[in-house]
């Protein structure tokens, strides 16, 4: 298949996929097509689709592609769906999440050490909202559970991968400046 023939197929697959769909997943579904062609087709598709200036855009999220509405039309979409923005995370939960995101995999005692307060209820909230996941046990005395961020974390915060997190050192001078 040519790159141009691949594009509409990829568009329909991005559409039906429940989660952002990766080039690797696309390659499995498009057996026999080269990964390079699929990557090229996906890139071109995203560019062309987004150049239309329509209400939708192809975005790169959590290592895959997904079609979403453009943020500037959110007011109308909210009005239509009568949707409330999902419950905000408490400051404690956000700070705990930040520690986990940058220091993963990390145990509860280690989080306590960094934050200076116990974070169990925040951890529970984050687990319930699937923003973090258990990542096995740490091989130390007591074998505490390790936690890390999930795919939902990337999607929730609009990240393609963890490298897109802002550099922690950038926040160093907040107080001293």
């Amino acid at each position: 298949m040519t790159v141009d023939e691949l594009k509409p197929i990829i568009e329909s697959l991005i559409y039906v996929s429940e989660e952002p769909i990766s080039v690797k997943q696309l390659a499995t579904l498009l057996e026999g097509e080269s990964v390079l062609d699929i990557q090229t087709a996906t890139d071109q598709l995203a560019e062309e689709f987004n150049a239309r200036g329509g209400g939708l855009e192809v975005r790169q999220l959590a290592g895959g592609y997904r079609i979403t509405t453009r943020p500037e039309f959110s007011e109308y979409v909210r009005r239509y769906l009568k949707s409330q923005p999902s419950a905000r995370l408490s400051l404690a939960a956000l700070e705990t999440l930040a520690v986990i995101a940058y220091k993963q995999p990390i145990t509860i005692p280690e989080i306590l050490e960094i934050r200076g307060v116990t974070s169990t209820s925040a951890i529970k909230t984050l687990l319930d909202r699937r923003l973090i996941v258990a990542k096995g046990h740490k091989q130390v005395v007591g074998r505490p559970m390790l936690y890390g961020t999930s795919k939902d974390f990337l999607i929730h915060f609009g990240l393609n991968d963890l490298s897109e997190l802002p550099n922690l050192e950038d926040f160093e001078d907040l107080m001293t400046s």
Partner: protein, 257 residues
């Protein structure tokens, strides 16, 4: 970065910068807003406009303790972490008062505040990161995905994570515990005992009604136990079962040897 700081105080509930509130209620709200001892310390450092790298430890310790007292007076539960930090501050303060070894080379003298400063800086960084995450989540919440394609409301399905798996397991076990507690201190009878009991009954009377046997059971477990015992006795050629009509009572009889 300036922007981030302003934004941060917004999610902070606008606490940190403004002056101390006058009324008790406001005072309470403000005090309970500190996530932990590090938050309170950062607030004090900012309020006193001192450098985080050169904290006037005596002054800050005094203020810190004053806040703890206020929290106690106002009946805000002071978590253990606040007290641990109070102890740390007092310890640092004492160390600062100790005369320095005049012979020790300058670079080998470690400032007793170093560890605390490091902790505060780390904490500050994560607060900044939390603020950026918050902003990103707000932006992301403005982008919508397509509607779900099918809905099965009769059979709500759960997309499970390991954590969910564990929670569900715990629920099942809790439910089971609750049930077994209702089965008032049931006999922890073994199958061997049950078999002996049935054999004994058959010594007393030639025929035993299976229905009667099951009706004596006080729990599901005992019922299962009776059932298994009967099967075991049949297999061991000790008893035989007869049923005179379909769906009728089953009669247990001792097998003649």
């Amino acid at each position: 970065m300036k922007e981030a700081l302003t934004k941060e105080s917004e999610i902070d509930g606008d606490g940190a910068q403004s002056d101390f509130a006058e009324t008790t209620d406001q005072y309470k709200v403000k005090l309970s807003m500190f996530e932990g001892p590090l938050d309170l310390l950062l607030y004090l450092i900012r309020k006193e406009e001192v450098s985080i790298y050169d904290i006037p430890i005596a002054r800050i310790t005094e203020q810190y303790l004053e806040y703890l007292r206020a929290m106690q007076e106002l009946d805000i539960g002071v978590a253990g972490e606040f007290l641990v930090m109070a102890a740390t501050l007092i310890h640092i303060k004492t160390q600062m008062l100790l005369p320095r070894d005049p012979d020790a080379p300058e670079e080998e003298i470690e400032d007793p505040r170093n560890e605390l400063v490091y902790q505060l800086l780390e904490h500050q960084k994560f607060k900044g990161a939390a603020n950026v995450l918050h902003q990103r989540a707000m932006m992301e919440a403005a982008a919508f995905t397509r509607a779900s394609m099918e809905e099965d409301t009769d059979n709500p399905e759960v997309a499970a994570t390991v954590f969910q798996l564990f929670e569900v397991f715990k629920e099942v076990m809790d439910r089971r515990r609750a049930i077994s507690e209702i089965e008032i201190a049931r006999d922890e009878m073994t199958m061997a005992e049950k078999i002996a009991e049935i054999t004994l009954m058959l010594n007393d009377s030639a025929e035993v009604s299976a229905r009667a046997l099951f009706e004596r059971a006080r729990s599901r477990r005992e019922m299962v136990l009776i059932f298994l015992s009967v099967l075991e006795l049949v297999k061991g050629l000790v008893i035989r079962l007869t049923q005179s009509e379909t769906f009728g009572d089953i009669v247990i009889m001792k097998r003649e040897t």
